[in-house]
Amino acid sequence: MSADKNKPLIVVLSCNWCTYAGADLAGVSRFQMPTNFRLIRTMCSARIDPELVLKAFAKGADGVIVAGCHPGDCHYISGNYRERRRIKLLEMMLKQIGISPKRFALEWISASEGQKFADTMRNFSAQIDRLGMSPIRIKLMEENERKEVAHV
């Protein structure tokens, strides 16, 4: 991920049917949003394997949001019920690893909630700003610097 060196990076993993449409609406409605998030669309929030969240953190993301349809609204009936159990379990595991639970959130955003999408991004981005860079990203940057020095 290439971006401004000191700006926090946020990965948004969203479902196709609600949150992606909600994000689209936020864009079309021209709501002000931070620009430091990258949205990845999947067919359902249940497709978002914990592996993907761990990989995002391991690659240096400072925050990860998983977003899907509200309970009862899942396009595949029960995908989001499964996902919310996984996310809770994953939160426990991230705590054991030492990543602050504030870097990670699960949100329900429907296709009509463009405003909610924009607000969520603004608040989450501000929260990550206060937390600073993720410890894994700091480690990665230090390693890269060492490699660059060794190369010179």
């Binding site: 809770k88 054991q96 894994i136």
Partner: protein, 339 residues
């Protein structure tokens, strides 16, 4: 017959269970020694590191290394063997994935904290009034310098340190797995059949459930998670149906489902992740998350209720990554800033 192949069976940070497993192939040992000589091993023959250093590069046909890369001596041995051998084999879960010792990576504060727990005042059972700790270097009163290898900061699988040709997973590898490998080497030497491709894991490509004979229900819904000692385990029913966490769904097959079939005990995942996933722990977490206590009032479930459901898993990291934390996507604990 032409010259025998040369074998090294080396130990890193290990419990030596893998050595026992090699002896367990009993009759096949005769086949093995028909074609092979052990030229280096700390357990079976009297060889020293000096002997190994004197060997020309590529002298050893295959080196089997078991145990994790806990200290610099283990790392040195792995690098030295790589230089001296044509084939490197990560033998057992420790060298293939980091093994149980790699759970030490999950301690926040790393080796410093572990040192403190073992030798410091943190634990009530430690009596160490003078605060004596092992030193890397020590000068004796007579002027000799003694050294001990220093511990690595984190345990990684052997293939992160050197190039590895084959993997034999398991804790220890099942006899059938070792026999498959020895058989492949034997027929390569005697009949010239090709060896498995480089990087092959000598096990199945499927999950353990494929091998496990237990009856699986159409749909799962775990109402309560039980520890194996809390209930009477049904020998026919799937463990997950009985509410016992079994890692079979996220574990590679190849062991013959010994634990679930013969031992009446759930799988703990020593054969590591299957070929299609990156991370065994995440894979198990995902599987368990989707069958954990689906209620009929999902629509208005509160956050507290949800928390109660998942809190039944007391130690997700230790349970899901029991043998593979060293190999995980995030394989060490970090310290995050508090807001």
């Amino acid at each position: 017959m032409s010259e025998k192949i040369r074998l090294a069976i080396a130990t890193a940070a290990t419990c030596d269970g893998c050595d026992m497993a090699i002896i367990d192939i009993d009759g096949m040992l005769l086949d093995l020694f028909d074609i092979a000589d052990i030229v280096f091993s700390q357990t079976y023959v009297d060889t020293k590191y000096e002997d190994l250093e004197k060997m020309p590069d590529g002298y050893i046909t295959a080196s089997l290394v078991h145990g994790s890369m806990r200290d610099e001596e283990n790392v040195h041995l792995a690098k030295l063997l790589r230089k001296k051998s044509k084939l490197m084999v990560a033998f057992g879960a420790c060298s293939a994935f980091g093994g149980i010792p790699s759970l030490a990576n999950s301690v926040k504060g790393g080796m410093g904290k572990i040192w403190q727990t073992v030798y410091g005042k943190d634990t009530a059972s430690t009596v160490n009034p003078e605060g004596t700790t092992p030193q890397h270097k020590w000068k004796t009163p007579l002027g000799r310098t003694l050294t001990l290898p220093e511990a690595e900061q984190k345990i990684v699988p052997m293939d992160k340190i050197i190039d590895v040709d084959y993997y034999l997973p398991g804790c220890p590898p099942a006899v059938s797995t070792i026999k498959t490998f020895v058989g492949a080497v034997h027929s390569h030497v005697t009949k010239g059949t090709p060896l498995p491709p480089k990087g092959a894991i000598i096990a199945s490509e499927k999950t353990l459930c494929e091998e496990c004979p237990r009856v699986k229900p159409e749909k799962y819904n775990i109402k309560k998670i039980n520890r194996p000692y809390e209930i009477e385990l049904d020998p026919e029913k799937c463990f997950l149906e009985q509410g016992v966490i079994c890692l079979g769904v996220a574990t590679r097959a190849g062991c013959g489902a010994q634990c679930t079939k013969v031992g009446n005990m759930p799988c703990r995942g020593c054969y590591g992740p299957t070929g299609l996933v990156l991370d065994q722990g995440a894979s198990m977490l995902s599987a368990l998350g989707s069958i954990l206590d689906m209620t009929d009032h999902e629509l208005d479930m509160t956050d507290d209720e949800l928390e109660k459901i998942v809190a039944q898993v007391p130690d997700p990291l230790g349970t899901f990554y029991r043998y593979t934390f060293g190999n995980a996507i995030i394989n060490e604990a970090v310290e995050d800033a508090e807001e």
